[in-house]
C-alpha cells in the first residue's frame, strides 16, 4: 500500500466515467479511498445508482457517497442523448453491493482527507459541484489535497455549446471555485480528450481480453460511439479516462502550464474555460492543461487495464 497515491474518485457515471474508474482500479499506482457521485450526465439518483453498479462490476469496495442534488447555483441539466435514460445505458450490470454511506459527498471527502496522512488526489470526471463544496466548507483541508485531476472544459472550443464543455457548463460557479483555489490542477479538456479517440477496432481488442469487465467496457464503448458516430466522430472520445491516464501515465501526453479562468456570464460563453496560452493577461499559471496525447499508447493503456480484470480482479 505504502507508495500508492491516495485518490478520491468523483464523477457522474456516465460511460466514460465508468471506464475511467475501471482504469483507476487497474493501476497499482493508485490507492482509491472513496467514490463520490455528482449530478451531471444524469440526475444524482441515477448517477449514484450507476456508481454503485460500476463499483460492483470492477470490484471496488470503498465508501460511496451521494453528491448534491443540483449544481451550486445553476439548475441541473442532464445528457440523456449521450448516455441514455439511465445515464449508463447499454450492457446489463450487476446491482450495487453496497448502499451509499449516510453522509453527503463533501463530508465523506473531508473525512477521507482528514484521515489521510498523505495529501490526496481528487479525480473529478463530472461537474465540479462536490469539489467546490468541499473547498467552500473545509478550506482548512486544502493542504490535504495534493492535486485535482479533472475532465472538463476546452481551451479552443466547447461541445455542449460552441464555447463550453458539458462538465463546466453544468456548474460554472463550482468550476470557478476550483480554478481559483490555488490547488494544482491538471485539466483534461476537449483539446486532448477529442484526440483520445478509441476506434471500433480498438473496442475489439478490449473485448478480446475476454473477462466480464472487458466485455462490459467494450459494450459501453459501442454504446458511447453510437452517439458520436452520428455527429461525425471516427471513434469514441473517452473523455474521462484521460483524466485518470494523466495521473498514471503523464508521459504519453503534451501539457502546457497556463492561466485558466471560468466565464460565468455571457450570452454564448457561460461555462467556457478561458485559457491564456500566450499569457496576454500576465497572470501566473493555475492549471496544467493537457493539449495532446499519444492515442495508440492511450488505447494500449485501456487494453492493459482490461487485462488486469482477467487476473481475477484481486488487487496486489
Amino acid at each position: 500500500m505504502s507508495n500508492r497515491i491516495p485518490v478520491i474518485l468523483d464523477g457522474d457515471p456516465g460511460h466514460d466515467d465508468a471506464i475511467a474508474w475501471a482504469l483507476a482500479v487497474s493501476s497499482e499506482l493508485l490507492d482509491i479511498r472513496a467514490v463520490t457521485s455528482v449530478c451531471g450526465n444524469q440526475t444524482i439518483e441515477k448517477t449514484t445508482y450507476n456508481a454503485g453498479r460500476v463499483l460492483a462490476l470492477i470490484g471496488l469496495d470503498v465508501p460511496l457517497a451521494m453528491g448534491r442534488v443540483k449544481p451550486l447555483v445553476a439548475d441541473a441539466r442532464v445528457a440523456p442523448s449521450v448516455h441514455g435514460a439511465s445515464g449508463l445505458d447499454g450492457p446489463t450490470l450487476p446491482e450495487p453491493k453496497q448502499q451509499p454511506v449516510d453522509k453527503d459527498a463533501c463530508t465523506l471527502m473531508a473525512e477521507v482527507l482528514e484521515a489521510s496522512e498523505e495529501p490526496v488526489v481528487l479525480v473529478s470526471t463530472g461537474p465540479l459541484t462536490n469539489v467546490a463544496t468541499l473547498l467552500l466548507l473545509y478550506p482548512q483541508l486544502k493542504q490535504k489535497i495534493r492535486a485535482i485531476y479533472l475532465m472538463g472544459g476546452g481551451i479552443r472550443y466547447g461541445n455542449w455549446t460552441p464555447a463550453a464543455e458539458f462538465n463546466i457548463l453544468v456548474d460554472p460557479e463550482a468550476a470557478e471555485v476550483v480554478f481559483t483555489s490555488g490547488l494544482p490542477i491538471t485539466m483534461a479538456g476537449l483539446d486532448v480528450t477529442e484526440r483520445a479517440l478509441v476506434f471500433p477496432e480498438d473496442f475489439a481488442r478490449i473485448r478480446a481480453v475476454g473477462n466480464p469487465v472487458a466485455e462490459v467496457v467494450a459494450d459501453w464503448l459501442d454504446f458511447f460511439y453510437d452517439f458520436h458516430r452520428n455527429i461525425g466522430y471516427a471513434g469514441a472520445p473517452v473523455h474521462d479516462a484521460v483524466a485518470v491516464a494523466a495521473l498514471i501515465r503523464p508521459e504519453i501526453m503534451t501539457m502546457q502550464d497556463m492561466y485558466v479562468a471560468i466565464e460565468t456570464t455571457g450570452d454564448y460563453c457561460r461555462g467556457m474555460t478561458v485559457g491564456d496560452p500566450l499569457n496576454i493577461w500576465q497572470k501566473p499559471a493555475n492549471a496544467r492543461v493537457i493539449l495532446d496525447i499519444d492515442r495508440e499508447a492511450f488505447v494500449d493503456l485501456l487494453v492493459e487495464a482490461a487485462e488486469y480484470y482477467g487476473k481475477g480482479g484481486e488487487r496486489a
Binding site: 472550443y157 461541445n159 460552441p162 455527429i231 455571457g266 454564448y268 485559457g275 496576454i280
Partner: protein, 311 residues
C-alpha cells in the same frame, strides 16, 4: 474595365496602411471609396493616415469618408502600443493635399451600395461601427451588397484578451449586427491572419524591391514585428493585407461555412467570435470563416502586388 467595385472600411493603422497599398493593383477588385473609423488609433489619425497613404500610393482620387469616432455603446479602446502615437509607427508621410468628404461614412456606404447594386464588396479591416450604423440606418443595405469580407475575430483564442480579437473587442455589438445582417459575410480572423505572416528577412526582401511604397511597408511594420516577437511569433502577421488579398482572390486560402455570433456580455469573453466550427453543438450557419492559407503562395502574391509600384 471588368473589375468589381470595392469599398474599404479601415482604421489606418500600420497593417491597414499596407492593405491600402495592396488595393491599387488587385486582380478582381477596384477600390471605389474608403471609409474611416476609430480603432487602432483615434478617428482624426485614422482619417489623416488614410488620406496620406492613398496619396502616397497614387490613389489620391479615391474619395475618403470619415466615420464613427467611437464604438456604438462602449468607450474607444486603442492600440497605440502597436501602431505608434500617430498610427503609422510615428512615420511622417507627406500631408494629404485634400480632406475627407463631408458625407459621413454610413451614408457613403449606402450610396455606394446603391450605385453598384448587387456588385459592391465591402472589405472592413477595423472595428465594424460604420457598417453597423449603415445597417441600422438603411435596412435594405445588406441586400444591396455582394459581400462583406472582414478582418476580425478568431475561431479559437484572441489577441487583445485570451478570448477576443482586437477589431471585434473594440465594438462587439457592431460586430454582431454585421454577422447577423443577412449579407454574405466572410470572417478573416486570427486563424488565417496569424498564419499570413512575414518574417523580418522577408520584409527586408520586400523593401529590396526598391519602390518607396515597398520600403514604407517594411518600415511601418517594424514596431509590430517587435510586438509579435514578445509573443513568440517570428514575424509580423499581415492581418489586414491578408484580408484584402483573400477578398480579391480566394486561391491559396481555405474557408468553411459556419455559425458565428459575438459574445457581448461575458465578463471574460466580451468580444469573442463564438463559432460552431469545432463544437458538437451547431448554430445557424450565417457566415464563412477563412481558416487556412498557403503562406508561400500568399507571400508571392504580396511580392507581385507591391512590385507593380516599380522601383
Amino acid at each position: 474595365m471588368n473589375k468589381q467595385p470595392m469599398l474599404l472600411d479601415c482604421d489606418t493603422g500600420v497593417d491597414d496602411a499596407v492593405a491600402i497599398l495592396l488595393t491599387k493593383h488587385l486582380i478582381n477588385l477596384e477600390l471605389v471609396a474608403v471609409t474611416t473609423v476609430a480603432g487602432n488609433v483615434e478617428l482624426e489619425h485614422t482619417t489623416e493616415n488614410t488620406l496620406r497613404v492613398l496619396e502616397f500610393a497614387g490613389m489620391g482620387h479615391v474619395p475618403v469618408y470619415r466615420g464613427a469616432a467611437k464604438p456604438l455603446f462602449c468607450e474607444l479602446y486603442t492600440a497605440h502600443h502597436v501602431h505608434g502615437s500617430n498610427g503609422l509607427n510615428n512615420m511622417e508621410l507627406p500631408p494629404a493635399k485634400r480632406q475627407a468628404e463631408t458625407m459621413p461614412a454610413w451614408d457613403a456606404i449606402y450610396e455606394c451600395a446603391k450605385r453598384y447594386a448587387g456588385e459592391l464588396t465591402i472589405i472592413a479591416i477595423g472595428p465594424l461601427t460604420n457598417l453597423a450604423l449603415a445597417i441600422a440606418k438603411y435596412k435594405e443595405l445588406p441586400k444591396l451588397l455582394k459581400r462583406i469580407v472582414l478582418m476580425g475575430g478568431s475561431a479559437t483564442g484572441g489577441n487583445v484578451t485570451p478570448a477576443a480579437e482586437f477589431n471585434i473587442y473594440v465594438d462587439p455589438e457592431a460586430a454582431d449586427m454585421v454577422f447577423t445582417c443577412g449579407a454574405d459575410v466572410t470572417m478573416c480572423g486570427l486563424d488565417v491572419t496569424m498564419a499570413s505572416y512575414f518574417t523580418e528577412q522577408e520584409l527586408d526582401e520586400l523593401a529590396a524591391q526598391g519602390s518607396k511604397q515597398a520600403v514604407f511597408a517594411r518600415d511601418v511594420l517594424q514596431n509590430m514585428l517587435k510586438f509579435y516577437r514578445a509573443y513568440g511569433l517570428d514575424g509580423v502577421a499581415f492581418h489586414d493585407p491578408a484580408t484584402v488579398l483573400y477578398a480579391d482572390n480566394a486561391s491559396c486560402f481555405q474557408s468553411e461555412r459556419a455559425g458565428i455570433r459575438v459574445e457581448t456580455k461575458g465578463k471574460l469573453t466580451r468580444g469573442k467570435t463564438v463559432t460552431d466550427l469545432y463544437s458538437d453543438k451547431q448554430m445557424e450557419h450565417n457566415a464563412n470563416i477563412v481558416i487556412g492559407v498557403d503562406r508561400e503562395a500568399f507571400l508571392r502574391r504580396v511580392f507581385e502586388n507591391i512590385a507593380q509600384y516599380g522601383r
